[in-house]
Symmetry: D2
């Protein structure tokens, strides 16, 4: 490592909190990025299969968004505007209405929450409780919804829950789709518990779910399961909240992850890629009849991140005004699926998981997954794991990644896996 890079890393070790995390897996100092590639201080280039955990679905520094943002800056456009009316926010709303909501038959109101996914989830949970007068919210095994206290209660991960330092409450946990394998429909359990007045499950204000659980290990619920859960929500007077923070913005093949499933959530949370550029922005979409917060009843200083509105508008107009982009996703999904299928076949018991371009392979062991990812990083690929034991190698590349880059990155991944597995075999043989 160069002296300069060392010095830079020293400041992190000396001054940044131990809570820092990804930097521990990718031990270098990044300096620039464009599209699907990142560059570090030593000039090394990396293919990015992490994409800010799906916050960079359109890649780094998209040239059109960049140009629009530089223009906005040059014109002294507002950077911060609380929730004042700005022409920039109006233009975003117009584009979102025209290209996203209307074509999908949605009349949801757009609530600009504090610009974190957790904040959008907190707003959704509060709203469902206010609307129904109930406190209980049903969430699922392996769900991840953020780490502020309200959202953390809905998050399944024990490590994150342990950080609360206080009992988490207000949430009932139910098994996600296929939690008990394919022979049992876990929605039977949910239905039985809701239908039985002595089950001890209080009538829920909402059922909160991700259609594909990102942090939980790329568990993709079957559309029919989601439809059934949506119907149960309706029958039992609960709002359906789809947390589309990681799975939305095209990640699973359509703008919203729940399209073509025959369900229409009462509330949708969005963040990560909604700004298009990786800037902090979050939305809570609410059916008009449930838009019951009074002015500022849920508020937050940065709910008007105008820079993000600039790039978000460009993202929507560029990628979602027609179906060209969406169609490209299917092709790319095939490429990744094929390669990950190869990976899965290398490892006994491994299996492909996910949907669209939210794909991965459960290799059965967090240790193995981490070693493969580390080896891949050494070869110029940024890739991470997910799942409760980090046992899933996940590919969350920018959706705009060219096919050639996809192939290059996947080749690195397969090579890395081959090397690690071969070393492992030798090591076992040597014992």
């Amino acid at each position: 490592m160069s002296t300069k890079t060392s010095a830079v890393i020293n400041i992190f070790e000396r001054r940044e909190s131990e809570a820092r995390s990804y930097c521990r897996s990718f031990d270098t100092v990044f300096t620039s990025a464009r599209g699907s590639e990142m560059t570090d201080a030593k000039g090394h280039s990396y293919i990015d299969f992490l994409a800010g955990c799906s916050s960079l679905n359109y890649g780094h520094n998209d040239p059109d968004m960049k140009a629009a943002l530089i223009e906005h800056l040059s014109n002294d456009g507002l950077a911060h505007a609380l929730d004042l009316h700005t022409d920039t926010k109006a233009a975003f709303l117009q584009a979102f209405e025209t290209h996203i909501l209307k074509p999908r038959g949605m009349d949801h109101r757009v609530m600009f929450t504090g610009p974190t996914g957790a904040n959008a989830v907190e707003a959704a949970m509060k709203l469902a409780r206010k609307v129904t007068g109930r406190t209980n919210i049903v969430a699922f095994t392996n769900g991840f919804h953020g780490v502020t206290l309200g959202a953390l209660a809905a998050t399944g991960n024990g490590y994150h829950r342990g950080g609360a330092g206080i009992e988490l409450h207000g949430v009932t946990r139910m098994p996600f789709d296929r939690y008990f394998g394919d022979s049992t429909d876990s929605a039977d359990f949910l239905e039985a518990m809701l239908r039985d007045t002595s089950s001890g499950i209080d009538a829920p204000a909402a059922i909160l779910l991700e259609t594909v659980q990102g942090e939980g290990g790329l568990n993709a619920a079957r559309p029919e399961w989601i439809k059934r859960v949506a119907d149960l929500a309706k029958e039992f007077g609960a709002l359906l909240i789809v947390d589309d923070i990681q799975a939305g913005c095209g990640r699973t093949g359509s703008f919203f992850s729940f399209e073509s499933m025959g369900v229409m959530p009462d509330i949708v949370t969005m963040a990560k890629s909604i700004s298009g550029f990786g800037l902090p922005m979050a939305l809570t979409l609410v059916r008009p009849e449930y838009d019951v917060f009074g002015p500022a009843e849920h508020n937050g200083t940065f709910r008007g991140n105008t820079h993000a509105f600039v790039t978000a508008r460009v993202a929507i107009e560029k990628f979602w005004a027609d179906d060209t982009f969406q169609q490209s996703l299917a092709t790319k999904s095939m490429i990744v699926t094929t390669a990950l299928g190869q990976l899965a076949r290398m490892i006994p018991g491994a299996r492909l998981k996910g949907r669209g371009l939210m794909l991965g392979v459960d290799v059965g062991s967090g240790d193995l997954a981490r070693r493969i990812c580390a080896r891949a990083f050494g070869k110029g690929l940024v890739i991470e794991t997910s799942g409760s034991e980090d046992e899933v190698i996940k590919v969350l590349a920018p959706l705009t990644t060219p096919e050639a880059t996809f192939r290059k990155g996947l080749t690195i991944l397969l090579e890395a896996a081959r090397e690690i597995l071969s070393e492992e075999t030798k090591s076992i043989a040597a014992e």
Copy 2:
């Protein structure tokens, strides 16, 4: 209103959630801003005495920060980097260490939380609970710390609390300084409750306070009260958390609001103006011995808002490398104090509140305060109220506001007040 502006406003009414708020007081569409002035779609100019609720302490579009950000963009610097190491974050940390922490004898670690103040507060509360193994946190009457579930429990405002839809817990409420006037020291109450093992107040993990309560009505605690509370925290094994989100970054006359009070908080939360440019960014500063979160135990997608690190670094280097800026604040505080003194004298029972450039006048009635602010807006001044009944007209201008602009804005405010009061007198006389 022009047709275009009307059309723009229509999109907000049609599509934005009822939770929108400030736009209801300032019914126009803003298009650009520079320094202490904002411009709307009709070309009208406004002096900004709101400053994004203290998020724009260095004004709108500071030219140096703007230039740095455009350069960063032009060079394809990272926009979003999770918590990866970047040269940009390193440069911010270096500047923060050199110009902020070291000169103040602070060895606090910097935790980049999700970029909202509420998230920084949630992290602080979780950390205090984890460190101490206790759950109770002492917060104060009229405190405001955010509206996500953990932070909301510490927020006093009944309107915001009501939005939770679920019982808020884990917080014990104590009277802020001078809550019972000047004859009773409210810290006596806190001490008595802590000292008495049968008071029903469980041993606290932390005492959480703002030195000047912004949303709560510009209540400025006396340094000796804060010192006493800090000593009680220490004696009873509780961490002292200063929420410096609104009062920090120079707002009360020094970088941190608690400087020169003889106290050193265990945890400090920062947001609002920390990025310098109004971009979403938040920090939780933690004494090294309490930096006990594991990697990602508290996390969030946008904790690496690199654009904000660019401008935050410039802000620190430009304004805090020497004491020129800080010295200018005292002079400006005098100007505002003098004018607000005049305002207070116009209204029977009115009184000046606050500290530094976080000043206001309690006019005794939310209705009167709102009418004066509305009139001022008609005259080209953006100014807001605070306090539990919105009874305080508050001046939160950019700290960089030139003296002439200050005087111009204050003149508008005084005129607005004079007109409203005179109309009121006439109206009463006419009855």
Copy 3:
């Protein structure tokens, strides 16, 4: 109804709270009782198949207990002694140790809690939390553990839960044995949730269960299921609490309901029939290593109900010093089982439930069950329903009921059922 009885009933209507309940099903005024029969103010006699909800397992006014209590009173024995040492309490403890604990290889400490079952459960839950430093307690669908706030959180019944007026927390609900029928082992669900660190189920302080759920509808868990749950508790560091309040004291055929199942609970709660005479008394039995409350850390004024200790000692010495009594239970269980089998065959879909002398028939409808019980009451039988919809006719006769009386009561029940079913058939035919 006689004038006198009317006058008496008036005082209840005028003065007693609407919370009164059983008196609504059995609309007369009872004046005396002996063995398995009760007499009302009009001189009518009733066979008692309710037995104070299993609080009168040895019948009303057992002559030996009565004699001992009259002697105690005549000698000015203490009635109320807080938790002072008394010869009476010593004698009870001695008998309990000799005839109950020792023969079963138990070294549990006896905690005299406030004399209600709910209080014994609250003590158990607090203790498990104190021992483990965890807060979560696993309880089961249809469980009933009392209605004070801690116990109510563990109770499944929605009607009772609704009375709390505040969110109930600290409990995770799991499916009881056969909750999904015979093809799915509900313990698989519990195991999966406990084993998965991202399930969202926090590590439990205790698993709390009834081996036969009384109020929940006489659901008898299979011994192998209980054994498996016990093993899971042990593996995951949770205490096993068996709530034996209704199922204990011989009700299911042995003193404790869990005997011969290969499990030894860490904590057992007892109440109802423990005094032998129907007097208020409750115990929490605790393995010595978990007996960690400090003096009076859990207390209560009436924890020393000395009269109850007098009768409790007699009950133990009379019924449990050898196995005569226990052997008689099996025979009686056969008699009841046979008759209830007949009842079940009369009603399509009905099925026999329970174990030992805690038996009933699920007739599929609360309305039908209530009508049969009401008719039986008219014929001189006191009998009640249970289950979430009151759909189970339950037989909870004194265990001392002579076989002839059992047959007489069961004949009444069958007659009542026949009449109701016949009327129903006619009524349908007439439509």
Copy 4:
């Protein structure tokens, strides 16, 4: 100690939980008691100034109650009757209505809760929450209301709270009368917090208080403070709950402790001496308009302790049918007050506390108080301490104690104090 007594004590040490408490202060085995005197296994006699913590206001084994109970037993009267109608309960209700409620202008409904004070408090708290739809309950410093989870949240004592093992919630703590001495009216604090919508105190469902805090150290609230709190409750839509479990049944000089204060609680909880004989019994009295529980919504097996109804009726008819008994209390209070005044004067800084026959002396140190009580026990007096540090020697003698016995007991107490103080002086002199 005799061999027999040793053997008896062994069974307690071997078999009873460590939670046992009073027996540690009074290390003997009691065998009988009559009136105000208790006898132990060695034939020693003790004057009882503890009276089952005010559960034996009419002394031990009152001959009329004893006779009635023996007669009830001899006639096979019911012992346990759930909440069925019995002639015995009717007679109690009639007596309670005639002699207690009517003369005091009360139309409260009588709810028979589980027979512990904690259960009556839990019912009261649940009811207030159900009636108002609010969750917050205001309770006071040093209040004691029981140790089940709902009641424990309202209890101030840190030792008991610590036993919960889980966060206690739903209660806001306020300072009791004179908590800050005589110069500050603590109701000012309550009023300020309730009136301020940003105080962080949610609108309360109820204000819960003891007029004299028994366990909290015999703190007697001034009638005018109670009146003011009652008025605040009314103004802010909260129910007033008076917990009269220890202070009721004549203990403070009238049947209810709040008589002649110009207040009428919405809910009153009773237990301890309500049965007259020390038997487990508890009541929650509720204004008819707040009697909103449905049938069995709050229930409990032992809510029909018929033996207690027998003695409770006799107690009311014997002691409260006219004012003879009540008048005797004033005289006895003078005797105790005089003697305790002497005691207080012996000890620098000591002060008399309490009201009626609920009196004590704060001697400033738990250690001193305990040593004096221990010495008194050696001389034949059973007497205990209270207060958060056990610093108050409290006299809770049966109200029926003859004047001569009072004098005898007080003489022992004064002698014990004199001896301890003299030994202390010598010990200090010797150093």
